[in-house]
């Protein structure tokens, strides 16, 4: 067999492997979207769920998912940003930072159900927060923090050292250089990381089952005072998210249209995560162009 034939065969094999990966993905996505598509109506997206009768929606679960995501990001982003800046810009290579990096590595591979049970013991039981959005957001922070820190650290590390030297050589302090030169240059990539991790958080179920709970009490969308128990903004109320809802319907749902609701919810979840991904790429590219290309 000569080199040319070998090359042709190898190329064909790689095409086949890549094709089968895409095929599996397309099948999964297609199946979820097609079986859920009939359910996707405005009414389904906005009405509360029904436990015993058909025709329930996912309005509250959808809102809960976004609200929880927002809170989790509000808590985890500043911490991850600080940790990322410390690790990439300030930390020296020594045993302490090696331990920190290893810890982050281990944390990021922690199964999310373990994070959920830990959050249950610490926040729900020990700190007496009960099944609440806050408990869930804190558990999600634990879940999200390692990955977000790594992603931000990576974004900062991708900015060439030349940029740091440029700042320092102009008499800027290290802090000024980091905040005004390095961070702005890293914004597109940091943003992409944040949105991608948002997609992961949005679809997370195991960490929330024991922390933010499995019930979605009725909300009064006319009441935005976060201290009222029926207010959507109240962080101390239990809140079933979309992903948890899917899990619950499939394990103990008794409504007659359980499988249709489950399929519809799955489609919404997948679409939301897809949306996050496209948004991340689009925003990242746009910002990058804005920062680097000539046209305003």
């Amino acid at each position: 067999m000569n080199a040319k034939t070998a090359d042709k065969i190898a190329t064909a094999v790689f095409y086949a492997i890549a094709g089968s990966v895409i095929l599996i993905l397309a099948f999964l996505l297609g199946y979820i979207l097609i079986s859920g598509f009939p359910k996707l109506t405005w009414q389904f997206l906005t009405t509360p769920a029904k436990a015993f009768t058909a025709g329930g929606g996912i309005g509250i679960q959808l809102f809960n998912s976004f609200y929880l995501l927002l809170l989790a990001m509000l808590i985890s982003f500043p911490i991850a940003l600080g940790a990322g800046i410390y690790l990439n810009e300030y930390a020296k290579q020594n045993w302490l930072t090696t331990i920190i990096r290893t810890a982050i590595e281990i944390l990021s591979s922690l199964p999310s159900v373990v994070v959920g049970l830990f959050g249950f013991l610490l926040f729900v039981v020990h700190m007496k927060m009960g099944f609440s959005i806050l408990s869930g957001a804190l558990a999600l922070t634990f879940f999200n923090l390692p990955l977000l820190t790594r992603s931000i650290e990576g974004s900062l590390a991708a900015i060439p050292n030349l940029q740091r030297e440029a700042g320092l050589a102009l008499g800027l302090s290290r802090w000024e250089t980091v905040t005004h030169v390095i961070l702005p240059a890293a914004v597109p990539s940091i943003l992409t990381g944040v949105i991608l991790s948002a997609g992961r958080v949005f679809g997370e179920a195991a960490a929330l089952i024991y922390t933010s709970g499995q019930s979605a009490p009725a909300l009064n969308f006319g009441d935005w005072n976060p201290f009222n128990i029926s207010s959507p903004l109240n962080p101390m109320r239990p809140a079933e998210t979309l992903a948890v809802h899917i899990w619950k319907i499939n394990s103990e749902g008794i409504m007659p249209d359980a499988s249709a609701v489950s399929a519809g919810s799955s489609a919404v979840l997948v679409l939301a995560v897809l949306l996050f991904n496209f948004l991340a790429r689009w925003l990242g590219r746009r910002l990058y162009h804005r920062l680097t290309s000539a046209t305003n």
């Binding site: 060439p160 030349l162 940029q163 030297e165 440029a166 700042g167 320092l168 050589a169 102009l170 008499g171 800027l172 302090s173 000024e176 005004h180 030169v181 702005p184 240059a185 920062l291 680097t292 290309s293 000539a294 046209t295 305003n296």
Partner: protein, 272 residues
């Protein structure tokens, strides 16, 4: 690296020029400078004086210590290497711990080998550090932008696109922007670390012209690999070899009648 010493046996091993400080104004001088990377000594006994409003070129093979020396002059080696000895600038030892390095670097600016404009507009690249130092007056900032871009010989090319991204400029323009950015801080001394090595010949000769004009106002110390460049633009030249300065003299002497045999070998292209 082959070291064929082919000059006569009575050639000196070192020849370091010392200025008569009564007739020459010294902008910067080093005394007993030693630089260590870990336990390795990268530079020994850097004893050099730099005359004001002159261009001094530092030449030598890769790894000869010339860049290390240059980067030590405005403490860019802080945290990378250990620098011992004195660097005298205006009666101050700027290598001492008491020095505010950020303030010092405003007096001793630096331009690097690869153009490194910020991911900001041309205008912001120049004004950003000034704003951080409290220069807020728009008119004053506009003036500084124009003056420094003129000094870097690129005003006419970019005056209509000041608010476009600096990253869209060509390599040569980016490097001149970096020079403009450095001189906008109105430093006394400008350090350049092979500023033209990443550029094409046309851009290189433009940078050289720019430097020749800048020396009316600034003391320039430049590291270069390019022998012709050193010969064309420098008033004084220091030859670095294996972490030592072997010869320091007027450029025309270095390039026509070097006193040290190894210098002669290097400039005639026998090694390096």
């Amino acid at each position: 690296m082959s070291e064929k010493i082919n000059a006569s046996a009575d050639a000196p091993l070192r020849n370091i020029y010392h200025f008569d400080e009564a007739t020459h104004e010294i902008a910067l001088s080093t005394h007993n400078l030693h630089v260590f990377y870990g336990d390795n000594e990268a530079l020994t006994e850097g004893d050099l004086q730099f005359e004001r409003y002159k261009i001094t070129a530092l030449i030598g093979a890769s790894g000869s210590g010339k860049s290390t020396f240059l980067r030590s002059l405005n403490r860019m080696n802080d945290g990378i290497a250990r620098v011992e000895g004195e660097i005298r600038y205006r009666d101050l030892d700027i290598n001492s711990n008491q020095i505010d390095v950020y303030e010092m670097r405003r007096h001793i600016g630096m331009v690097f080998q690869r153009p490194n404009p910020f991911a900001k507009s041309i205008y912001d690249n120049i004004t950003f550090a000034l704003k951080q130092r409290g220069v807020r007056n728009k008119q004053r900032l506009d003036e500084i932008v124009e003056t420094s871009l003129r000094q870097a010989a690129m005003w006419d090319q970019v005056k209509d696109e000041l608010h476009q991204s600096a990253l869209a400029l060509s390599g040569g323009q980016q490097q001149r922007l970096c020079i403009a950015r450095a001189i906008a801080m109105e430093p006394d001394i400008l350090l350049l670390d092979e500023p033209a090595s990443a550029l094409d010949p046309v851009a290189t000769s433009q940078i050289e012209d720019t430097l020749l004009q800048l020396k009316e106002k600034y003391t320039i110390i430049i590291v270069t690999h390019n022998m012709q460049q050193a010969a064309r633009i420098s008033d004084y030249t220091a030859f670095f070899h294996l972490g030592k300065v072997l010869e320091y003299d007027e450029a025309r002497k270095i390039f026509t009648r070097p006193k040290v045999a190894i210098t002669n070998d290097y400039i005639s292209g026998n090694f390096g």
